[in-house]
């Protein structure tokens, strides 16, 4: 296990390297010249050239990549072309709202969706199952920004229970923070909830048809024990895959939710930076998210061994 862990951590370095190269390549090949954008619409050519020279944009791409990777290894993500602030500072400012949203969503999701999925599988093909499935399919099919609009229309405009948009840092006023984060979290949670219920049900149904479940029932084990110890544990592997995958989905959902609810998080930072071609910020943010994702993937793979002793690392 320890050897596997070290191996996996080492092997995530190439993942991050490949990622940095992909992001770098995509951004450099993409049209649009940050120097021209900074200089303004009617700037003379020499001014654009000067800015390009300043930013090192006239050097070959592989040279820029090398310089960038060297800086990253020293913990320097560069500074924003647009606001001149260090990228690390910008990320530190913006990561709290995004993480709060992610954590709140998980809190609203996991304790509800997995038991519901198990229930649906246990009561498969009954009305309980159909009801849960229809609701989860519906939740899964609504585009997240449309859901956001509906929530805003219903719970902010028609019934003025929550503010329609905005964000308060948790350190400033925790009550207001909660009040404002609930509607956006609910918006992401409904999507994630639907997704997890579906997958839990699907894998549980498959597992519940196995011979060892029949055996467990035949030897008179209580139904709860069969469901939890025998079935859920065996279904945990695909479910864990889906939760790990779901976290990438979650970040994607948060990008949209932040846009709809005007939350100043990393998603908005990145979308704004893509529009402005602020390369260092985009790279820094993507690298940060990638590090988070690599950690989650690692935990997912490690959880396989935890749930299924047949898988050895």
């Amino acid at each position: 296990m320890q050897r596997y862990l070290v191996q996996r951590i080492l092997s995530s370095i190439p993942v991050l390297f490949i990622l940095a190269v992909i992001v770098f390549a995509v951004l450099r090949v993409s049209g649009g010249d940050p120097a021209a954008i900074i200089a303004g619409k009617d700037a003379p050519q020499w001014q654009i050239e000067a800015i390009r020279n300043d930013l090192g944009l006239n050097k070959p791409v592989y040279f820029q990549l090398g310089v960038y990777l060297g800086d990253v290894l020293q913990g320097d993500l560069g500074e924003s072309i647009n606001s001149k602030k260090p990228v690390i500072t910008l990320i530190k400012e913006r990561i709290v709202p995004t993480l709060s949203l992610a954590i709140m969503t998980e809190i609203l999701t996991l304790p509800i969706s997995i038991p519901l999925g198990v229930l649906a599988a246990w009561k498969a093909n009954t009305w309980v199952d159909r009801g849960i499935l229809i609701f989860s399919t519906l939740g899964f099919s609504i585009p997240i920004f449309f859901l956001g609009f509906l929530l805003i229309k219903a719970f902010a405009l028609e019934l003025p229970w929550f503010p329609a948009a905005g964000y308060v840092p948790p350190g400033e006023h925790f009550g207001n923070f909660l009040h404002r984060i609930i509607l956006p979290s609910l918006c992401t949670a409904i999507l994630f909830w639907a997704f997890l219920v579906r997958m839990t049900r699907a894998t549980m149904i498959e597992v519940l048809r196995e011979d060892y479940i029949r055996t467990a029932r035949a030897k008179g084990l209580a139904e709860g024990g069969v469901l939890i110890t025998h079935a859920l544990k065996n279904a945990a592997l695909p479910i864990a895959t889906v939760v790990g995958w779901g976290i990438a989905e979650l970040f994607a959902g948060i990008v949209v939710t932040e846009q709809v609810f005007a939350i100043p998080g990393m998603g908005r930072l990145i979308v704004d930076s893509i529009v402005r071609r602020d390369y260092p910020v985009i790279q820094g943010c993507m690298l940060t998210i990638a590090v988070l994702q690599v950690i989650v993937n690692l935990l997912t793979d490690m959880s396989y061994a935890l749930f299924d002793p047949r898988i050895k690392y």
Partner: protein
């Protein structure tokens, strides 16, 4: 003659239909009893496909025609679905928007299923490929797919093939992961071991013994991908990074309607409703298709 006409009631029509297309009608009846949601989903999808195909003939006007004096008209007899903030006809825009969504969804679904089966089998069955393939997949997956898609689309511009390529690129690694994780346990199955023991060649084992086992998860994932790609396309259009805004698409319609949400909910609600209904239909098909295709899960005999 008189009697013949009398007997031509609905019941006898079903009889005639049965005589003519017997097996098909039986099959339809059987499906309707066991998987009603499958037929509902197919009906929704056929309806949307018909809208997409016959868009120019469905009493539509030019979906890009701006008419400021008639802006934000409520749905009524003149404008079935009302007009948006510059007076464009929401009915026409919604109908034409069907085309973009369906084209992107099905193209991405088909591409992803094939590529995921291929890479998933390689990665799951051969340890040597596993390391390389999964590291690349991890790298792609560790960027939130919407952000990477935005970056890719902004690379070349928002044409339909580019959007399809971008969504495929950010989606298929997830399917590879699902296929791989089922291959990982399938290759330990006794029947695979038995096939190996009697000397079956590796391609044969993969094709006849491992691949069929990945079909059920791949079906579910494939459906999720078609539905998800339609949603992703809408999100890209919504964020203004999708197909060029001249082409009517549901996502960009809703982005336009955002500023008038408090007074004109229909500008957002109608494309949102169509989008939800389409995705819902596809998800219903996937759910039921899975039950039918996977013999282990079939309801017959239970």
């Amino acid at each position: 003659m008189q009697e013949q006409i009398k007997t031509l009631n609905v019941g006898s029509l079903v009889d005639i239909a049965k005589k003519q297309w017997g097996p098909f009608v039986d099959k339809l009846e059987w499906t309707w009893r066991r998987h009603p949601m499958l037929l509902v989903g197919i009906a929704i999808l056929i309806f949307m496909a018909l809208l997409a195909i016959f868009a120019p003939y469905l009493w539509t006007v030019d979906p890009t025609a701006v008419d400021p004096p008639n802006r934000l008209k409520e749905p009524g007899s003149a404008y079935w679905f009302g007009t948006d903030f510059v007076g464009r006809d929401v009915w026409s825009r919604t109908i034409y928007g069907t085309r973009v969504s369906l084209a992107v969804g099905f193209a991405v679904g088909a591409l992803s299923a094939v590529t995921a089966a291929f890479f998933g089998l390689l990665a799951g069955y051969f340890n040597t490929f596993d390391l390389i393939i999964m590291r690349i997949m991890d790298a792609i997956m560790s960027i939130p797919h919407i952000l990477l898609a935005i970056a890719l689309v902004s690379m070349v511009g928002g044409s339909v093939p580019i959007v399809i390529f971008a969504i495929w690129f950010v989606t298929f690694p997830r399917a590879v992961r699902v296929v791989r994780s089922s291959v990982l346990s399938l290759r330990e199955e006794v029947y695979v071991e038995a096939a190996r023991a009697i000397g079956a060649k590796t391609p044969r084992i993969l094709w006849y013994h491992v691949l069929p086992g990945t079909i059920a998860p791949l079906m579910v994932t494939g459906t999720l991908i078609i539905a998800g790609s339609i949603l992703t396309e809408a999100i890209l259009s919504f964020l203004g990074a999708g197909i060029d805004p001249e082409t009517p698409a549901w996502g960009s319609m809703m982005a336009d309607g955002r500023r008038t949400i408090s007074m004109a909910m229909w500008v957002v609600g109608i494309p949102g409703g169509f989008l939800t209904l389409t995705v819902l239909g596809i998800n219903m098909i996937g759910d039921n298709l899975r039950d039918i295709l996977d013999p282990k899960l079939s309801r017959s005999g239970t």
